[in-house]
């Protein structure tokens, strides 16, 4: 007996991000966007901070509590959006959401990097919300920021 199909979900790179999260922590100063979001059905939570400068994500950090999928996704997301324009970040979020729902995506359009490892989530529908939590938080933050301007 083996957990063969589990390996499509729990890829090495995911477990690496879970074990050694990138950008975990808080941003200095009070000029960053702060978003708290949780998944009420399971209790996963994320506290995301982003610094937006000249329409670009200058920095991003997160704190959170949750399963390997939600936390590794948060780690990968902060890594991926840093240095990207807000539009690019939103575009990535859309692609990511499509990817984990099993929809076709054009991977050449934007370099997703490590994030592609989460493609396996599409085979585990119960876990899609874990994977998208950090991205939803990012979208919410950016949208609120745009509203203020």
């Amino acid at each position: 007996m083996s957990f063969d199909n589990l390996e499509t979900l729990y890829r090495q790179v995911i477990m690496d991000h879970y074990k050694n999260p990138r950008n975990r922590g808080t941003l200095e100063g009070d000029d960053s966007l702060t978003i708290d979001m949780n998944n009420p059905t399971c209790g996963d939570s994320i506290h995301l901070q982003m610094k937006i400068e000249d329409g670009k994500v200058a920095d991003a950090k997160f704190e959170g509590e949750g399963c390997s999928i939600s936390m590794s996704s948060a780690s990968m997301m902060t890594q991926a959006i840093k240095g990207k324009t807000v539009e690019e970040a939103l575009e990535m979020s859309k692609m990511f959401s499509d990817m984990v729902q099993g929809k076709e995506i054009d991977a050449d359009e934007i370099e997703l990097g490590d994030i592609v490892a989460l493609q396996g989530v599409s085979k585990f529908p119960a876990r899609i919300k874990c994977a998208t939590l950090a991205w939803k938080a990012m979208e919410k933050g950016v949208q609120e920021d745009q509203k203020e301007e």
Binding site: F3, L6, K19, C42, E65, C67, S68, F124
Partner: protein, 406 residues
Amino acid sequence: MDVKELKQLFPVLNQEVNGHPLVYLDSAATSQKPIPVLEKLDEYYRGYNSNVHRGVHTLGTRATDEYEGSREKVRKFINARSTKEVIFTRGTTTSINMIAYGYARHRLKEGDEIVITPMEHHSNIIPWQQAAKATGAELKYIPLQQDGTITLEDAKKMITENTKIVAITHVSNVLGTINPIKEISDIAHRKGAVVVVDGAQSTPHMKIDVRDLGCDFFTFSGHKMCGPTGVGVLYGKEKVLEEMEPVEFGGEMIDFVEMYDSTWKELPWKFEGGTPIIAGAIGLGTAIDFLEDIGLDEISRHEKELTRYAMDQLKTIDGIQIYGPEERGGLVTFNLDEIHAHDVSTALDSEGIAIRAGHHCAQPLMRWLNVSSTARASFYLYNSEEDIDKLVVALRKTKEFFGDVF
């Protein structure tokens, strides 16, 4: 009780999930439904679907007889004095909210107290938080012991002359703790408080005698006891129900309707506004027949043995943390090493084993346990030692799998 034979009566259980025979260990969330209940629902909808208590045609009479017949079955099942004390609701949550809105809010005032425990399900916390906020009453908690039980000494301390409501779960949906309802009722009554019991996790598994328990209100859900979803029961002593106001107004619950005022039907119908949960209630009656044919004592005995076996077997797994007391209802809540409960649940699901993972609608309790989530295996009459063995094997594999990737 022949579990193998019994299992044949539950169609859902006889299927493969992810290439493995389904092992269903999530009955505390909802139980599976036996063929007699499914057939009864089918019979109602195909044979005599009609509204109850209105019109005088043949089908309507049959539906009314079946619906009211179920009420009598519930009465007998929980040993209520009269069918006046049995109200069909949408489930435990609705029942508790009806008490909070229709009874408690009319009586509470500033300086009064509502006493609950930290092991309550959200449905027995939030209605009281809201009632406290609306009336200025204070919400107080009987503290938990290290093993997740409460003591009568603490209950005596927390329940005072100012306490108007004591709301407590019979069996905890996370810890499995069985609370001493009879003793709590005595303590509360001596101080003049009314006792509300959340029986969602006890009624499916043990003989309930509301008169022996002594509580004023008792609530439970049909879907956790082999019945359909969408039906539950609010039991109340006739006296408190007479004092309680309806929270839903409309058809079916009225006596006379004038232009500017109306009067209500007598108990229990004044609390059943609108077309009631006819199929649900009829199905619940059949579920009660089904459970009583087997015998609630027999079911309790089976689950007790199974739970003991599960506790013993699970404890042999290195790194497992089990929450709650030794003496418990038919469920075991745990965490495995540092592996998040969702990850454990996904791993088990890939082996066809269904458990619950998360906060179990008990966030204050999760904080008390100092965990963000837990995994829970819960048992019912159709589970066997073989199911537990499969769970244990899969958990060992899960540990190995995540041990490797970590």
